[in-house]
């Protein structure tokens, strides 16, 4: 049989390298348009304001619903529950049991955080709802801040800044502070963030000890099976573990007493890791040497007794709050959502 000439022309066009390339680009364009159309109709619920960049991108790519748009949250959820396929939450407001129960078509929770304590993971598993978070992209920022807090607390950097700004240097000396380099550092939780903190502290000549659920075979640091022993054997205790039922109030009165009047506590984990009322008493009474805190039990409330203490440095849960990392976290949230809706493997699944 003789094939028509147009067929031969087409065959030559498709079989050449340029032809194949053009075809591929055309296919990708078509796929991109189809994918966009598919995702445009997917309802994504954002639980609270967290990143204007993330909000813009979610608005562009999906059907974005903002939980804080309505004062009557329960009604808002009732009206829109069928539409919502995805929830984007964070460390302030995640996806608890009540929220999950109210969303019958929920397929995925993509958290704009690495911490998962605000997500009912058990419920998600039961219902087959996927969960993703934002590990790795924020590790360095959080570790940097832990060291920054330790330096600020021991060397009284913020106090000194205020001393100068208030004109006090003209008439008096600032006095002595405490050296950071060489102090022993104890880390609770030697995951990604804990390991990054250890790497930095080592560069300051600090001997490192750690407590974790289990010994880490590749870690070259001294392991302590009890937090109290770790606290008794270090001068700077850093909380860097995940918040779970087991780690709630892992830093309690006994641990604080073991750390002692020359010890300092750095918390870049979660507020509930520390028994806050015991911490405040210990600081006020001088039973603990100082603290650098980025998290609190009832954010944004901070115990007022801490405001007057010069040996305490306070930050507002900013461990990953840099321009660069916020964008990287948001991009990861978006990439996970797109992967899910396009049937591709999730980038950073937890469930």
């Amino acid at each position: 049989m003789r094939w028509p000439s147009f067929f031969h022309r087409r065959r030559r066009k498709f079989s050449s390298p340029q032809g194949r390339n053009q075809n591929l680009h055309r296919a990708l364009r078509i796929l991109s348009v189809v994918s966009s159309k598919l995702m445009e109709n997917k309802g994504v619920l954002m639980t609270c304001p967290m990143s204007s960049y993330l909000e813009e991108q979610l608005q562009k790519r999906f059907r974005l619903l903002k939980l804080w748009d309505s004062q009557m949250k329960a009604d808002f959820l009732k009206q829109n529950s069928q539409l919502i396929s995805a929830v984007v939450g964070n460390t302030v407001l995640g996806a608890d049991s009540e929220l999950i129960d109210s969303l019958p078509n929920l397929e995925i929770v993509s958290s704009n955080s690495v911490g998962l304590d605000k997500i009912d993971l058990v419920k998600c598993k039961e219902r087959g709802i996927r969960v993703t978070n934002t590990p790795d992209v924020l590790t360095d920022d959080v570790a940097d801040l832990a060291i920054g807090l330790a330096l600020a607390t021991l060397r009284k950097i913020s106090v000194a800044d205020g001393f100068l700004r208030n004109g006090l240097w003209k008439n008096s000396d600032f006095g002595l502070t405490t050296k950071f380099s060489g102090k022993s550092v104890g880390i609770i939780g030697l995951g990604r963030i804990g390991s990054a903190i250890a790497k930095r502290a080592k560069a300051f000549g600090c001997p490192i000890g750690y407590h974790s659920r289990s010994r880490k075979p590749n870690a070259n640091y001294k392991y302590y099976s009890s937090v109290i022993d770790l606290a008794a054997n270090c001068q700077i205790l850093v909380v860097a573990c995940a918040l779970t039922d087991e780690t709630r109030h892992i830093v309690n009165r006994e641990v604080i007493d073991a750390l002692g009047p020359k010890g300092i506590l750095i918390n870049i984990g979660r507020g509930p890791h520390v028994d806050e009322s015991e911490l405040v008493s210990a600081l006020v009474e001088g039973r603990l040497g100082g603290a650098g805190l980025d998290v609190y039990e009832n954010e944004p409330e901070i115990p007022e007794k801490l405001f007057q203490l010069q040996n305490v440095v306070l930050l507002s849960h900013v461990g990953s709050d840099t321009v660069e990392t916020c964008k990287a976290m948001a991009d990861l949230v978006l990439a996970n959502l797109e992967a899910h809706f396009l049937g591709k493997p999730l980038l950073t699944p937890v469930v």
């Binding site: 920022d141 920054g148 100068l164 000396d173 502070t177 930050l315």
Partner: protein
């Protein structure tokens, strides 16, 4: 006879040391020092310094001083018998080394006692500027978090290009710390250091234009006076930060103030100033500047180490033994 203001009654046989300043270390460890040395303390005398020295210090062979003493050169001219000057400062820029060398006067300094502390503070200041630690701490301690919401976003440290000016002991300690933060290190120094692999720049402007932060770790001398001038700040640029825990006069302070006020550089962490304890008032309104009162070396631990070193140097001198931390004149006088 004029009364000599010393601890004479208890220390007649102790070696005599003239104290000028006095240095901060002296204020902390005076009692300990007076148990080892007979201390001449001119500030306790009602007579002018020149007269005091002429009467009481003609046979004095050792002087203890620090960078707070601006008049050291003129004092030394009135001390014919001096053979040793011990300074509690890291930088001997307040000492006329040329004159000391000419007269055969040895100089001992604080050497590496403070290197880690200065490096720690330089790093601490930079982290503070970029992550807004002091500014946020101040904001929170006024109880404003629930009212005004979150503090503005900060800037990441990792991956930033760090330009170190002066890669001596302190500069190398800074480099070691910031490498662990994932920063890229380059440096400018009088000479390339063969033992380090960081990129080397002969020209400070070129270093500045390839850096996100400049950290000053060099000594103050004729070559480094106002080393950081308008041209260098311009090269550093709008996103650049400058950290100074060395000496105030290494930076043209007027230029720095202008660049910060006009937003032509992103921020500064300053432990030293040209006219301490006066700080440019214009900077006090800026929250992208972190201030420190020349306290890079003042930790309890380093003060104790410094006291041990000062005593060690004095005792070595009086026993005709080698000094523990002598200034090598050639290192500082090029």
């Amino acid at each position: 006879m004029a009364q000599i203001h010393t601890n004479q009654t208890l220390s007649v046989n102790l070696p005599q040391v003239l104290v000028l300043g006095p240095p901060s270390i002296f204020r902390i460890y005076e009692k300990h020092l007076s148990q080892k040395f007979m201390l001449l303390k001119p500030w306790e005398s009602p007579i002018p310094l020149e007269e005091f020295l002429s009467i009481h210090a003609q046979n004095t062979t050792a002087v203890l001083t620090s960078s707070v003493v601006a008049y050291l050169s003129s004092a030394l001219r009135l001390l014919p018998s001096v053979r040793l000057v011990v300074t509690s400062s890291v930088g001997p820029d307040h000492i006329d080394l040329k004159e000391c060398r000419r007269r055969g006067i040895s100089v001992a300094y604080a050497s590496s006692v403070f290197s880690a502390d200065v490096a720690d503070l330089a790093v601490g200041l930079w982290v503070d500027v970029l992550r807004k630690i002091s500014a946020a701490n101040c904001f929170l301690k006024t109880g404003l978090w629930p009212v005004k919401g979150d503090y503005p976003l900060a800037t990441k440290l990792g991956g930033k290009r760090v330009g170190i000016i002066g890669l001596g002991r302190i500069g190398q300690e800074v480099a070691k710390r910031l490498e662990a933060f994932g920063c890229k290190i380059s440096y400018q120094s009088r000479e390339k250091k063969p033992s380090v692999s960081y990129p080397f720049y002969t020209d400070v402007c070129e270093l500045a234009s390839n850096s996100d932060v400049l950290i000053i770790c060099c000594a103050l001398n004729d070559q480094t006076y106002h080393l950081i001038n308008r041209e260098v700040l311009q090269a550093l640029g709008r996103q650049g930060v400058i950290i100074n825990a060395a000496r105030g006069a290494i930076i043209d302070e007027k230029a720095l103030v202008q660049f910060l006020q006009e937003g032509k550089i992103a921020g500064a962490g300053l432990d030293v100033f040209e006219h301490e304890p006066n700080v440019p008032e214009e900077l006090l309104e800026l929250d992208n500047v972190v201030f420190s009162p020349h306290s890079a070396v003042f930790t309890e631990e380093s003060c104790k180490d410094l006291y041990d070193l000062v005593v060690g140097n004095l005792e070595a001198f009086f026993s005709n033994k080698p000094l523990l931390s002598p200034v090598q004149f050639d290192d500082f006088m090029r």
